[in-house]
Each structure stands twice: as C-alpha cells, then as structure tokens.
C-alpha cells in the first residue's frame, strides 16, 4: 500500500465553462421533470400502448446499469484477485458505480407511472419470485446499499482530516477501523449481486419472443449481458480516467491503464466469441442481409462496438497511447450502450403498432440532463473527497 499514491481531493476550481454547460442541461431536465410529474407521462413522452418502454428504460436504466459495471469488475480485480497495482482505480470506479446506480434509480422514477410505489418490491406481499424484473430490482436495491457502504471509508477519510471537530474525527477513525475488518463481506457481495442482476437484465426480453427480433432473441441473452458487463467495466474506467485527467489537466496514468487494457482484450474476445457462436448455432446470421433497421443496427453494434475496438486493443501501440486507448475504450462503451438500446428498443417489434417509437424532446432532455447531473456530482465529489490518486495531486490546505 505504501508505494501507492494516496487518493486525495482534486485541488481545482469547481466552476468552469464546462460546468456551467452541464448546469444548463441539468436545469432543462428539472423543467421537464416538473411537467412530467404534474401532468403525467403522456405530456412528455412518445410512449404509446404498443411501446411501453422508451429511452428512459433502455438508456437510463439498461445502459446505466451496464456502464456502472466498472465498480464490481475493479473491486474483483484489486480486492479479490489482489492485483494491488490497480488499487488506485478502485475508488473512481466505485464512485462511478455508486452514482450510476443512484441515477438508475432516479431515472426509473421518471418512467414509473406510480413512482411513489418504487419501494414495493421489497415488501413481502409484493414479492414475486417468478419475475425476472423482481430479481433485477432486489439485487439492485441491495447492491446500491453495498456501494454506499463501500464508499463510506472515503467519506471517513475526508472527515478524519477535519481538524475542527475532534469527536467527529474519533468516530470516523473508529468507523474506518471497523469497516476495514468487515469490508471483504461487502466486496464479495457486490460482485455476486452484480453478476446476478447484470445477467438477469439480459433475461428481461426473453419472455417476449414474438416481439423480439431474432438477431437478439437468444436463450443465452443473460449470459451475453453478463459477459458484456465483464467486458465494459475496465473500458469505462479507462475512458473515465483519461477523460478526468484531461479535464483536470493531469497526465493520463498510462502505467496503470495500459496493463489494464490487456484484460479488456481478453473479455472483448470472449464476448465476441459468444456473440458469434450464438449467431452460428441459431443460424441467425441469415438475417444480417435482411436490410432492415434491425439488421443494420446489429451490424453496427458488432463491427464498431466490438470488432474494431478488439482489433485496435490487440496492438501494443494502441494500449500505450492515451488518445488511441481512449478511442478504443469509448468504442466499447458506446457499443455496449448501443447493444442495450438495440435489445430494449430497436429489436422490440410489437404487433398492432400504429406508429413507430422515437424519443420526444422531453425524453431526450431528461436522459441528457441525468447524465449531466451525474457528471456534476462526480466532479463535486472528487473535488472535495479523496477519490482520485494521481502523482501530480498535492494535499490542499483546508
């Protein structure tokens, strides 16, 4: 531990031009939120009786959960497999996961018709063991709490440094010592819970085979979701780390990220093999030349989200060059996002449709606003709490 750079608050100005831009986007979301919660879903969304799910489910929930996978994958790598070299990336990844899941919950509230009943799945009269969604819901609820517990030491570390309240300092020291002893329970739980709900998310559409395009309609959909979650965790961490470094004018930490990218090669290859194998076994490849929107989207997902970054990452030069590694990681992140959109929206072809679904301005404003707010909170937290470890960061006088 001693050779590691210690995490500390980022000593940079909070309000920049970018921050004001994000604030503007967040403000738009609040305006739409007011309309949605006062006048109902119909006024804001383009949902109809044939299309009950839109981008709030496909992006805010489906994609949100997938892209928060960096939390459990880095925890497994650094804490369970004890690759100590990667300790420094666990805190940023944990923060992303914690915020990601929190915003999945908030995003879901927008979509739920009776949002005030969101807690119902946890009460026994409403338990429904047959429901795939129930499994996802319960795992996510427990996992969010696990993430908050995993995050507590970061808050304690910060408060321990506060000179003004000696009592608070003592409490934090005590809490930290207890947490250090029991944290392994939560770290393993976090990985198990993640594996469970990441895979179950892929099982959601399996109940609607006649509405689901055959390119995605496979019995191993949950396995594919799990493998793609394994795959996307590290690229998300890499993408974020480089992005944060650039935006705080720090040097990207390639000595950590480059070796991390080697794991990505393995997991991308594994997922790609299963995707192609599934296609061969089900002989769904005949649909690739169908010429439909679905077939085009599937090809884009496979080529730009999977094959191109996979081939890129095979090269040592790509893994060693910030800009190229950033590009490859971003392609994987966007590829998984596109896969979730494909699974939940593009591949969904209900009968008796009157019109096709395209998100409204309001739906887009909420989705964009949620991402902007998440980024703002992320920046706020790394500015005041010890999350990021970087050799160029120096302790700030408080």
């Amino acid at each position: 531990m001693s050779e590691h750079v210690l995490p500390m608050p980022v000593d940079r100005k909070f309000f920049t031009r970018g921050v004001f831009f994000l604030l503007a986007l967040a403000f738009c979301m609040f305006a739409v939120a007011a309309v949605r919660f006062i006048f109902g879903l119909e006024t804001v969304t383009n949902l109809d009786q044939q299309h009950p799910w839109g981008i709030w489910i496909a992006i805010d929930v489906g994609t949100g959960v997938a892209l928060a996978a960096g939390g459990f994958t880095t925890a497994a790598l650094a804490h369970i497999f004890h690759r100590e070299h990667y300790h420094v990336i666990t805190r940023p990844a944990l923060l992303t996961a914690m915020l990601g899941y929190t915003f999945v919950g908030i995003g879901l509230m927008f979509d739920l018709g009776r949002w005030y009943n969101i807690w119902h799945p946890v009460i026994p009269p409403c338990w429904q063991g047959d429901s795939v969604l129930f499994e996802v819901g319960m795992c996510v609820v427990v996992y969010i709490n696990v993430l908050y517990i995993e995050f507590l030491p970061i808050v304690c570390d910060r408060l321990e440094g506060s000179v003004r309240f000696p009592t608070l300092r003592r409490i934090c020291t005590y809490l930290n010592s207890i947490l250090a002893k029991v944290m392994f329970v939560f770290i393993i739980a976090g990985v198990v819970l993640s594996c469970l709900h990441q895979s179950s998310l892929g099982n959601l559409m399996v109940i609607a085979p006649w509405k689901w395009h055959d390119l995605w309609d496979t019995q191993i959909s949950s396995l594919l979701f799990l493998l793609s979650a394994f795959m996307v965790g590290f690229p998300m961490v890499i993408f974020e780390s480089i992005f944060v470094s650039w935006s705080f004018k720090l040097k990207p930490e390639m000595e950590i990220l480059s070796p991390l990218a080697k794991y990505v090669v393995f997991f991308t290859g594994l997922y790609l093999a299963f995707k192609i194998g599934d296609m061969l076994v089900r002989e769904s490849y005949v649909l690739l030349v169908e010429g439909s929107v679905q077939s085009v989207c599937f090809i884009i997902e496979m080529v730009f989200g999977l094959i191109v970054p996979f081939v890129m990452l095979l090269s040592d030069r790509v893994r060693a060059t910030p800009r190229l590694l950033f590009t490859a990681s971003l392609l994987i992140v966007l590829g998984v996002a596109f896969n979730r959109i494909n699974v939940f929206l593009i591949a969904y072809q209900p009968p008796y449709t009157v019109k096709s679904y395209f998100p409204s301005i309001g739906e887009i404003a909420v989705t964009v606003g949620l991402i902007a707010t998440l980024m703002l909170v992320y920046r706020l937290i790394v500015t005041y709490l010890p999350v990021i470890s970087h050799p160029e960061l120096t302790p700030r006088k408080t």
Binding site: E42, D48, H79, G113, S131, P153, N176, A180, W210
Partner: protein, 313 residues
Amino acid sequence: MVIVNVSRRGFLKKAGAVGLGGSLVGLAPDKAIASEVIAASDDSMGVLVDIPNCIGCRECEAACNEANGFEVPTEEELKDKSVFAEHRRPGPHNHTTVNQFPGGGDGVEARPIYVKANCFHCNKPACVSACIVGAFRKLESGPVVYDAWKCMGCRYCMVACPFGIPTYEYDNPLTPQVRKCTLCSNEGNPNKGGVPACVKTCPKECLTYGKRNDLLARAHEKIRSEPDAYATHVYGEHEVGGTSWLYLAPKGASFEELGFLKLGTAPPPLRTERIQHGIFKYFIPPLAWYGLLGAVMWVARPNADAAMGKAES
C-alpha cells in the same frame, strides 16, 4: 389460489441441474419448454367465441364500457359502420373492440367477418410471470386480474404480453393503472362473479360462457357436426399454453387473416422462469459463487502480514 402453481412445481424439479452460470441453462433446446403441459384447473371458466355468428353490432363493446364505467356509445354510434374503417385495439378506456375483416373464401357467404378482441386470460399468463410486484394474478376460476395498489407502473406486463393486451393510462399523472378486460371480475363490476357483461348482452349467441373444458368439447363438437361452417382449429386451445378465451373461425378463413397472431404453443413465461429459477435454485448458485470468490480472495492474498496491516478502501 393460482393455477400456475401446479405447473411451477413440476417445473422447479426440471430446473435442477443448473450450475453457477445459471445463464447456461439457456443453452438447452427449446423443446423442453414445448413439452410442458399447462393444465388449466377444472373450474377454470372461459368464453367460446363463435366468430361466424357475429354480426358486428358492437353491443358487447357498449355493455363492457357500461360495466367498467367508461363512456357508453349511443345507439346511433353503434349503427355507424364507419368505425370499421380502421383496426381498433382495446385500450385503457375500452376493454374490448370488434373489428371487421373481409369475408369470402370457400363455402362462406361473401359477407364481412367480425372479430371481438380482448384479453385472452392465458392459462399461464406472461403478465403474471413478468410483474415485479405480483400485481397480476390468475384466478383459479379463469380470469387474470390486477391489483392497482401493488402496481408501480413499470409496464413490463405490456412488454411481456404476447397479445399486446394490457394498456396504460398515460394521461393520468398520479394514479395511472394498467387496464384490460378482467372477465368482469374486478372490484365494483356489477357482473362480478357471474356472466361477463359482453356475453350477457350478445344478441346472436356468438359468445358462450362456461367451464373451459366444456367449451372446448363444445367447440370440437361444432367442428365435427358442421364441417362446412367452421375451420378445424380452435384458437386458444393450445396457443401460449392455452387461453380462457377460445375462438372458432369460419371455414376457409385463417386466424392470421382475422387479426390473430401466429404464436407457438409454449407459454412464454417458461422461457424466463426456467433460467430465473435455475439461477436461484435454493439460493445455492449465488451462495456457491460467494464462497468461491471468498476462497479466491483468501488464497490470493499477498501475504498474511501485509493483509493484516492493510486498510481496505
């Protein structure tokens, strides 16, 4: 009591040999599902629709709207045939619709064919299986009913339903409900526990209410005794594991031409439940996964001294 329990028990046994990567069960062939027999309870009620008898008067729509407290069409409006210009689907404020399809074909008078659409009340309903809070239930007496107080409005039931039946009150900002036909067994329905409003009002005896088993026997008897009048297929007998509503089509017309969907005989929930119950079989797979990771964590630790002194973050 719920019918589905009967089938679920047998099903749990089957899902036995499932390992850690519960997803892998998905690799088993689909045939395993098709062999599942969904036995409706002997008391399960249903409705037999004799499509050739329907004259498109839409009195059933009016009666349904009245029973559910929706706006009731006037006699004038019911006579207006222009509504048939477009295909109308059941919605949140009308739980049944009658649509017109061109007649003709062998042995049928060249008059239009009218088909009533509403919830099929599946023997093994996808909405019941999908619902995250158990807001949908299949009653032993047949109907699939909805408890609004449980619902959180996620609309997964609408995604899951193979027939596209549940509809949502998108215009209600605070207490929106999923709405569909309840076979007149919802609270406050004047026909609750008895003959559904549509059946009661049908002037042409096109709708028959009774025990599903009796209705099936009756349907096949009709096909046998009047081979020139009816197509040989009873829609709903085997579709998605069987439904409470059963349909007889005029001879020469195919169900797909009459707005019915071509669906398999396997109930869709078995696809997901097989995987779901496999992953959670007695909680063994998750606990085994937990134990395995714990073992790795212990074995892979750098060395005991360093581990003792380390503060995990």
